[in-house]
Amino acid sequence: MKKGIKGRLITIAVFLFIAIMFLLPSTPIYSILPDWWGKVFPDKGVSLGLDLRGGMHLVLEVEVEKAVDNSIERSATSLETALKEKELDNFTVTREGRLIHLTFPADQTETVRTILDEDFVNLVTQEEGGGKKVLTLRESEKNRILTTSTLQALETIRNRVDEFGVAEPLIQKQGENQILIQLPGIDDPDRAMELIGKTAILEFKLLDETHAILNEFPGRIEPGMETELINNFKDRIGEGNEILFQRTNNEETGENYKIPFLVKKGTVMAGDLLTDARVSIGEFNDPYVSITFNGEGARLFEKVTGENVNRRLAIVLDDNVYSAPNINEKISGGRAQISGSFTHQEASDLAIILRAGSLPAPVKVLQNVTVGPSLGSDSIRKGWMAGFISASMVVGFMIMYYRLSGLLAVMAMTINVILLVGALATLNATLTLPGIAGIILSIGMAVDANVLILERIREELRAGRPVRLAIDAGYEKAFTSIFDSNVTTLITAIALFMFGTGPVRGFAVTLGLGITINLFTALVATKVVYDYLNGRKRLETLSV
């Protein structure tokens, strides 16, 4: 017997054993195994990609520059509030791009400076003099916002997804300001998109109820006509006002329309001061969201409502008016309600969004791929069917053409596939449809190495060499071909892996592993059988 046969056989057996152990959790057999099995042996198999199990793949871009704008807007609002609280008169705060223009009586310069130094360290003075100041965001503050808002958005989205309840979600930062979200098995992608993509900036704004233009305002408009209405009136609504809309749908008639409101621009109170948001049911079985403010919010809300009794306060989320109730009296206790015409589900999603907090900036959808579960299982079924058919055809051909040696090649191919899928399971790789294609392709290529060897052996036999020498020479001469050709294909796989994304990467991993394992089985597994045959005393014919 030739040296090392035992050692090689053991190596192959060990590899096969490991591969099968890692494969088991992915097979139906796993469910009938005892509990302790999962504790001793691997309990995680190949996981299926979104294209096979169904789900949603989203890439969002956080518009970080807008986060800077928002921060300036917020600073301007709270500066106004702070000055009001100090009972300063005759001041104005106006925002112009990223600058805040502040005017105040010249004799109060000192008070203003104290306020700015104590509570507004994020702002820096650009120009000043004679009761005027131009402020902007400090550079360090701006950079902090630019770098942290993506992470902040990531956190918020993670909270929303957690509350929504998705099994095994993947949420991660990608590149500078992108967020990758994968939600397997989601069945209502539109709802998920609503939930994730909403900026959810909640604001309370006062209505302008006295403006003369209100007589010309239509009571309601068709959806889609908003821009036209704004263009018609924008020159005459006054500096401090804006037009916002409320979406309304009549459940009985199924009619959709929008109600325009003339709203004062300044935010009297922002919604980030809340501690809780819950769905409640009103007296007509209509769901609404009740929100609870924190201490500071409750105090502010009491003050705002107290100052504006008998006026209407619009509750605005992402520039959409949800409702605009009349303030009947001062509201203390820190509770408010958001009603509007929504379904129970919409109300509960809104509550989730409010609890999870708002995104620091709006997000833009860069990529949204959704695969329904039916298509996924369809693809798996078709993939395995194609795999089975191609394997049978290749097996049939190899045995017909090379007979016993063909059977050896088929055995090598089988080992190859088991090791390949086992390796995928060991790496806990994600199997995608292109990945299945990769496996099938490697079935075709797996026999290539054996074909090279067998053709060489045939050539040597034709040249009249004895069987033993023919086998050795065949192997030796085929080796460089197999090695070089596999290395070049491996290079392609590496390039695909480095520059590919998602499914393409899956394909590259399968192809790369397939080639490496291919090399192993051709040069070790098949060889050991021939070495064994060679080692026998009599070997005069070879079925090839």
Partner: protein, 310 residues
């Protein structure tokens, strides 16, 4: 012993000029396709061009013209529709659309549920891709191609000779371009998966070429008395049955994928099938013939140098 091919002696090199002509035409087609595709007039898939693809599965057969009319009435004018009639499936592609604000998925499903209320359907899949991702994917694909090309030339030049590397690279480019050209003529959409298939073809074709080159290297050492042409011809002939059988087994594997793998993988399989044929052709008629032409040029230059010296 079952053999398709007995010992052969086909002159692959002799007819190389004719095959160069044929390949030039095919490659020119491929380059035209490449230029047209990169300038935006080719059938670039939404992965690269941006836009949306929505796949619906209906209970009953659906008229493609009625579907188109309904979409147009709903304001989606430039939809490209593809029908998989055996399974009542309809794929709607909307290219170069703004994807963010208009949720195309729900728009399309609204249109169909009102226009075809008797025919219930499910949205099997939807893909919406913005232009930034599309550009990134294009860049990545190009990088992958360039990166693998440089590495492969280096590797082959290191293992063989520089001219082998160049010849292999040209043959590989040839294969990818020819398949691209054929896809352009067939109006197959160039998606990310098709690009993956093109790279797979590159790998496959190189594999083939390298096996032949390996034989050439071996025979060049062994058959010192024969001319370069003869050695190359001999090497291709030696490898003929191996190349055929490998092509055949890979072909068998992929044809099953093409026929039974479903619509997602269909174009990928088609590309690989065409690629196998083209790759086999190029390693016989192009890659090795290039080596001969190279040799002839250096020889004639050598002669000229000799003449001048005398």
């Amino acid at each position: 012993m079952l053999t398709f091919i007995k010992k052969t002696d086909i002159n692959f090199i002799g007819k190389r000029k004719q095959f160069f002509m044929l390949s030039t035409v095919l490659v020119a087609l491929g380059i035209t396709a490449l230029i047209l595709i990169s300038s935006g007039s080719g059938n670039l898939g939404i992965d690269f061009a941006g836009g949306a693809a929505i796949q619906l599965k209906f209970d009953q057969p659906i008229q493609i013209n009625a579907a188109r009319k309904a979409l147009e009435a709903g304001g989606l004018k430039n939809a490209a529709l593809q029908e998989i009639s055996t399974e009542n499936k309809l794929i709607i592609r909307l290219k170069k659309q703004e994807i963010d604000k208009t949720n195309l998925r729900s728009k399309v499903s609204d249109i169909f549920s009102t226009s075809f209320s008797g025919n219930t359907f499910v949205v099997e899949s939807s893909t919406e891709i913005g232009p930034t991702i599309g550009e990134k994917l294009q860049r990545d694909a190009l990088n992958a191609i360039l990166f693998s090309l440089i590495l492969i030339i280096t590797y082959i030049a290191f293992r063989f000779e520089f001219r082998f590397g160049i010849a292999a690279a040209i043959a590989t480019f040839h294969d990818v371009l020819v398949v691209l050209g054929i896809f352009y003529v067939l109006n197959v959409e160039i998606t990310l998966l098709v690009v993956t298939a093109l790279l797979t073809i590159a790998g496959y074709s190189l594999n083939d070429t390298v096996v032949v080159f390996d034989r050439i290297r071996e025979n060049l050492k062994k058959r010192k008395k024969e001319t370069f042409d003869e050695v190359i011809n001999r090497s291709i002939n030696d490898n003929l049955s191996r190349t055929l059988i490998t092509s055949l087994t890979t072909f068998l594997a992929v044809i099953a994928l093409f026929l039974f793998g479903g619509e997602v993988i269909h174009d990928f399989a088609l590309a690989v099938i065409i690629g196998i044929v083209v790759g086999t052709y190029s390693s016989w008629f192009i890659a090795s013939s290039l080596l001969v032409s190279w040799q002839k040029r250096t020889e004639s230059q050598g002669k000229r140098v000799l003449k001048r010296a005398s």
